[in-house]
Each structure stands twice: as C-alpha cells, then as structure tokens.
C-alpha cells in the first residue's frame, strides 16, 4: 500500500479563498478541530483578485436601500432561476458580514460621514458595493487570512486534495498530495467543506488562475453529490484582449460603475440597442439621460452600460460578430472622457497600473480595448440554503463551487458577499454536524485506490503532453461551449471531450515528484474534462436562452424552463442529467420581484439587426 501521511480533524475546509477562510473561522470558533487545506500559498486564492467590491445593502450612500431591494436585484439579475432562500439569506446577512470584516481590521473607503462608501455596479439599483479602490478582494482575503492565523487554525498550504473519502453513506475525509514534496496525504474528517471555486481554466479566454480546475465540483460529483445549473457560466463583459499575453485579465465593472461607457469601433454607445424588456423600466433610453444619471441618480435612470453581465457580454459578442468591433476583436471602454486623471487613479489604481504596465495604454487618456472573458460559474454543488449542506451527509459547499444563489447570472459584487454569508453558514453547520456525528473511519482500500490513481502517471509511461491536452480543451470549450451555443456544436464538444479524456489518461509525466507542475496538470485534466462534460451536457438539455446560457437554436427565454433546475449526477461512472422544479418563491417575497418575467430573444450574433430582448 502507498505511503500516505495521515491527519484527523473534525472539519476539513478545502480552499482558502473568502468562503474557505470564513468557514474555517466559524468552525473553529464553534469548537471544531479545523484544518484549512489549500493549493496555493495562503492569501493567493482567487478572492485576492476581486476588484470592484462587496455587495451589501448597508444603506450608507442610499438610505432607501435595504435587503429587499438587494434580494430583488439578485433574483432579477439571475433571471429568477435563483434559489430564493439563498438570495434572501444573502441579502439579509451581507451587511453584517461586511461590518464584521471591519471588526477584524479591514479598511474600506469612506463616505464623508466616515462610514463605508458604496459604489454603483451592474444590476444593483443603488450604489451598494463596499470597496477599497479596485482591490477589494485583497483587503478581504488579507483580513480573513490574518484573522484565521491569529486564531491559530491549522493551514496546509500547497496541498492539493483530489478525492473525497466516503464510507458508502457519508464523507469520511479527503486525500491528495503535497505539491512541494509530491507525497500523499489523507485527512480523516467528520465534515468536509468544499470552497474550491470554479472551473474557468477549461476555457481559453478566462480571468481565472491555474487553480480553477473544478476540483470541488468533480470531487463532490464522484462522491455522489448532486450538481445543479452547470450550464450557467458567466462571461464577464470586460476582460483585456490585447496584447495576447493579457487576454482575459479582468477589467473591473467598477470602471463602468464609476463612469466608463462602452463604444463600438464607430464610437457608437451600442448598449442602448440591447436593453431587454425585463430591464427597460429602470434603464435610460437616451445618451442624454444616461449621462445625466452619472451626476443625478435620483432623477434619471441608469445607463445600459450597467445592465447585468450576461446582457452586456452578449451585446459585445454581437457587435464584434457584426463587424463593429475593434482591431483585436473587442469593443472600447472609455472612462477618460468623463473623469479626470486624478479621479481615475484614485478610484481605479490597479486598472490604471495594469493597462499602463501590460498594454502600454494610459486609461486616463485612452480608451481600453475589452471583450468577454470566462469569469465565473453560477452552477455547481447543490446545497441546502440554510446550512450549505450538499446531498451527501458530512459534505458542505460554499462560494463559487456551490450553486443556487446566483441563478442564471451573478451580479457583480454578489460573489464576495456570497463567500462570507455562506462561508460562515457552512462553517457553522459543519462544526455542529461534526459534534453530533459518530466517529468516522477512513476506508484503507478506498484510500489506496485513490493513491494509486495519483501515482499512476509516473508509472504508465504515457505519450501525451498534458499541456497540449489542456490547451486543446481550452480552445474547444471556447469555440463550442462559449457565449453562444447550439446543439450540433455541443454534441461535437461531447465527442471531443471523450477523445481528450482518453488522451489525458495517457499523459506523460517526467521528472521527480518534487513540485512537478506537469504531474499536477496531468491529474487536473481529469477534473477539467469531467466538469466540462457536466457543463456541456447541461447546456444541451436546456433548450432556451437565459442568463449565462444562450442557445442560438433556442434564442427565446422560455417561462417553462424558468421553473426548472438542470441536475447532474454521477451514477455507475456516467453522468446522468435530469430536470427538477426549482423551489417556489413564497408569496411575500414574490411580491418584491414584480409581475414580469424574463422574456424575449437573446442576441446571438446571428440576427444582428434585432436588439436583444425585443419582444
């Protein structure tokens, strides 16, 4: 049997971004013996890259704001596919979670009265995002990191967990390897909280780091847990596109929140052509009104540049397909004509720095060239809204890896608050569960089997370059399972995934086990391909366009599909896809949402003369 280092905990948290750290702090505070296990060094998880802010109805800038408006905005932004209870808890608890960060030392930008300042973002009726310039994620992760370290919580850094251990009924721990030494390590645990983020590395143009290989989703699926909404992927409308080296890097929505506008190559403010009926009542329909909104937000409606991300990304895609894009296949984002250089450098320092250093563009004088970049997955592990419990006992999930909260499309700023609200809830529930659960026992046979799978690439003498396989996967998902999808392309992708899976099994690994990225990638490919298949199969089933999922062959938003989640399970080694009704919104909350439903036809770039959502 393979030599495996062993540890025992009550609660093991996988991932050390906002959700994982918040879960760990909570579980520890509730007396559970808690470990954090993370792939990178502490403080480097994806949360560190978050820019624009944390959405919370603090009401510091707009006293009219409250959880009900935030709930409404979140549900409508998610095209009403959200789990209503998660959206409710999130809207209600986000302010406390933000204020709690302040208790732990975070320093948000301030209003004139000394309170936390809030900024405008897409889909939020009021300026709602607590922020620190455009480096909010850094403030958040460092605050949580320092709090976790101060509490003395055990952290296993640069340690990749690959599989959940189970006893056929519930989770008993997890197994993986130390990146630095290549040695195997297993954690026995009564409860495991997955906080591993998404799967952006399956696409070519992405804002996501190497860590985003779908580990948590794949682990949960393998352990028998349900996934939902896997077809719901978010293309953030504004990623850098030039030079090639930076393609996909995020340009914060804060640029638009603070006055930036989108233009095509002829200088046209094209977003006015893409206002769907669902958002028309609250969106300006002339440039004059949109411009006036930046100065007087009470008496004007907001600019269509700040429509939810799915709308803006599709609009950009359509403009480019229609030949109205820029030289490098994007559109322009301009803040220089509205705001002073001082304002831009103060509000958006890292955007200024990023463009200046990496693209030789001075955003205080020049337009940015931007285009959609795969940023987030709304789908993921199905969880109980109150406890973040997955459908396998002892397993919990919080943050991007969990699903339901954001429905078909996530609003900007709702991710950081999601991490805190459901990270805390997951940590609490996991700790309480661990107190009542009877002792678990790791099944040595199962552990050995997983250990062998990890060691296999060294022994098999494969003939495929894992980097080449990954690159082909990214190209294929980008072109066949991208912003606009259709049946034949999705079917082609499924066939392609089968071929890539077979090749990944023959990945060639050279060198020692010490810090060997080729080996790590060879193992990651299994998760990347597996989760890509879940996305593709789910996308094939949902024959409508809604939020982050747009079908060229089914461009209409179908009210019938608006009542269904697409559910993915793994049974006997195969993915089984089905649909199940989404929980019905209770009447008192339903009243907050308005009578209308998302409708109309999504712009797919085919019928370029027709605006999105015109019905």
């Amino acid at each position: 049997m393979a030599d495996v280092e062993r540890h025992e905990y009550d609660v093991v948290i996988v991932g050390a971004g906002g959700a994982g750290l918040r879960a760990a702090i909570e579980a520890h505070a509730r007396g559970a013996k808690t470990a954090i296990v993370c792939k990178s060094l502490l403080g480097k998880a994806h949360t560190v890259m978050a820019e624009g802010g944390i959405a919370a109805a603090l009401g510091n800038v707009w006293p009219e704001d409250n959880w009900k408006v935030h709930f409404r905005d979140t549900m409508r932004g998610g095209k009403l596919l959200n789990n209503w209870r998660m959206a409710q808890l999130h809207a209600q608890e986000a302010p406390d979670r933000v204020l709690e960060l302040e208790e732990w030392g975070a320093l948000f930008d301030r209003t004139k009265d000394g309170l936390i300042l809030q900024r405008d973002f897409g889909g939020h009726r009021y300026a709602r995002l607590a922020h620190v310039g455009d480096r909010t994620g850094l403030e958040m992760i460092r605050t949580l990191q320092d709090a976790a370290v101060a509490e003395g919580i055990d952290v296993f850094m640069e340690c990749t967990l690959r599989n959940l251990l189970t006893d056929g009924e519930r989770v008993t721990g997890a197994i993986g390897y130390w990146r630095q030494s290549g040695k195997l390590v297993a954690f026995g645990a009564k409860a495991v909280v997955l906080a591993t983020g998404g799967v952006g590395r399956a696409w070519r143009v992405t804002s996501n780091s190497w860590e985003y290989t779908g580990d948590g989703i794949a682990m949960a699926l393998e352990a028998g847990a349900d996934l939902i909404d896997m077809e719901m992927t978010q293309f953030h409308p504004t990623g850098m596109i030039w030079p090639p080296s930076v393609r996909g890097l995020l340009v914060t929505e804060g640029v638009r929140g603070d006055g930036g506008t989108l233009r095509n190559k002829s200088g046209e403010r094209f977003m006015f052509n893409y206002v769907p009926a669902f958002f028309r009542a609250e969106t300006a329909d002339t440039e004059k009104e949109a411009d006036a909104w930046f100065e007087d937000k009470k008496n004007n409606r907001r600019t269509p540049d700040l429509l939810p991300r799915d709308e803006v990304a599709r609009a950009i895609n359509t403009e480019v397909k229609a030949g109205r894009g820029t030289e490098h296949g994007g559109v322009f984002l301009d803040i220089a004509t509205r705001r002073s250089a001082d304002y831009i450098k103060r509000r958006l320092p890292s955007m200024y720095h990023q463009f200046k250093e990496l693209a030789d563009v001075d955003i205080t004088k020049q337009q940015m060239e931007i285009g959609p970049t795969l940023h987030y997955i709304m789908g993921g592990i199905r969880v109980d809204p109150d406890t973040a419990a997955a459908t396998v006992p002892g397993l919990y999930a919080a943050g991007e890896v969990a699903a339901g909260m954001h429905g078909a499309n996530r609003l900007g700023g709702n991710s950081l608050s999601d991490l805190l609200v459901f990270g805390r809830r997951a940590g609490e529930a996991a700790a309480e569960y661990s107190k009542r659960a009877r002792a678990t026992k790791v099944d040595d046979t199962q552990m050995s089997a997983f250990a062998q799978r990890m060691e296999a690439p060294f022994e098999k003498g494969g003939d495929e370059n894992p980097y080449a396989i990954h690159s082909e996967l990214q190209d294929m998902m980008q072109s066949l399972v991208g912003i606009i999808r259709r049946r034949d392309e999705l079917e082609e992708a499924l066939a392609g995934l089968e071929r890539l899976r077979a090749r990944a099994a023959r990945a060639r690994v050279t060198g020692s086990r010490i810090y060997n990225p080729g080996w790590h990638l060879a193992l990651d490919l299994e998760n990347l391909v597996g989760v890509s298949e879940a996305v593709t199969r789910s996308a094939l089933i949902r024959e409508e366009s809604r939020g982050g999922h747009t079908r060229e062959d089914f461009p209409k938003t179908d009210p019938e599909w608006g009542t269904k989640n697409v559910v993915t399970r793994k049974r006997d080694g195969r993915l089984v896809i089905s649909t199940e009704p989404i929980p019905k919104v209770p009447a008192e909350l339903s009243a907050l949402l308005g009578e209308d439903k998302p409708s109309g036809e999504a712009a797919t770039g085919v019928k370029t003369a027709v605006a999105a959502g015109d019905d």
């Binding site: 990178s40 403080g43 480097k44 320093l107 000394g114 850094l138 320092d146 250093e357 894992p466 980097y467």
Partner: protein
Amino acid sequence: MPDVKVWVWRGDASGGDFMPYKVAADEGMVVLDVVHRIQAEKAPDLAVRWNCKAGKCGSCSAEINGHPKLMCMTRMNEFAPDEHITISPVKTFPVIKDLVTDVSFNYEKAKTVPPFKPKPKDPDGKRRMYQEDIERVQEFHKCIECFLCQDVCHVIRDHEENKQSFSGPRFFVRLAALEMHPLDANERIDLIRAKHGLGFCNITKCCTEVCPEDIHITDNAIIPLKERVVSAHYDPIAWALRRIRGKKDEFAPPEPEPPSA
C-alpha cells in the same frame, strides 16, 4: 517575431545551474509567459508559482538578471534584443525546486504578530473613520505579500543567523498598518523592538525600491515605527508613566537608564 532566449535556474536543494531555453515570442509577452511556454513545450516539470498574472497576488516573485521582480509584470521588451536574460529563484529563502522557494519563514513570522483589536464602537453602534485618516494605512494594505522586500533585505539575505530575531520589511509594513489603524487598541511596541528586530534595519531603502506596489516601506512604515519605539522606550516621561502604571515589558532587553533631568 524572433524567438526569445532565457537562462532559467534549474535545480533543487542539492544544487543546480542555469539552463538555456528558446521559445517563440509574442507581442506584449512577460517573463511569466516565457516560463509557461518553456513548461508547455520543453520542460513540463519546471517548477514555478503563479496565480493572478496581473500583479495582484504576489506569487511569481523571482530574480530576473539578479533583480527581485514579479515575473508577471516584467515585460520582455524591457530587455535589449540580444540581452542575456537570467531567471532565478529568490535568494533569501531556501530553494525547493527551480523557481520555487520555501517561504515558510514569512508565514511563521505572521503568527507572531499581535492581531487587530478594535476599540469600542461609537455610541450609535457604528464605526466612523475618515478617508484622510485611513489613507496611510491603506497604503500598507496594498501589500501583496510577494516577499520581494524580504528577499532584498540584506539583514536576512546575507545573514541566515538573523532570521531568528528579525521579521523583515513585510512585517514592519504589517505592524505599521496595525499600529496606525485608527481603531486598533492592541499593544505591540515592545514586541516590535524586542522580537521583530526593528533595530537591525539601517534604512538603506532597498525594500522600498523593489516594492511592486510602490509602498514607501522605509519612509512611511519603518521610520515612523522606529520613532514610536524610541518615544516609548527612551522618552523619560513615557518611561516614568509606564513604571507608575506598572506595565511589564517582558520582551525587553535591560532598560537604559533614563537620562537625568
């Protein structure tokens, strides 16, 4: 575009050497892109850390032609066409493999920093701070923990023996951020002197020069901390007050005699 050629240090704790690699160039390429292309095409086991690729996470620190830098923010067009380019791991920390070093020193030091402890809230339950009062601390909060300041600091770069009693510029920034936080009520001054070794720093500003976030580490963090230590420990009034209040300074070396009035 012509190919790019770089020399990458390959090896582990037992030793290593620079190896030449040539790969195709792209417009706008940064050093990290070159390293990734080498991994993909020539050396799949080449070890390197990275995450954000945008200067926000501080993972990809290395020495490029001997200068401590982030690989993701170093453009290839900064070099002359035929310049000999070397990429090596940061020197201050032990090599694990290739460009990856053991930076656990920093995570151990982090455990010794007394955390933030907030003052009571305002009577209405809110917390008020004014932008002008937090700006200097926000500068410190820009730190991305790339540890380049630690790498370049000669107190530990050339003197392994000092690591025990010296925390380095990163932690002076951290301590300054806590000490200057308008809401913080914790005590750290004695510790800063006795345990974090602030006195070792002779303000050569090397740390400030390499900081990719342009934090004025020496002027804004280290020097004000030194002043605070001096006024707490060598100011006769502060000394007398502490004696009267009976505060113990458990970490302190023997107190100097207060100067006679």
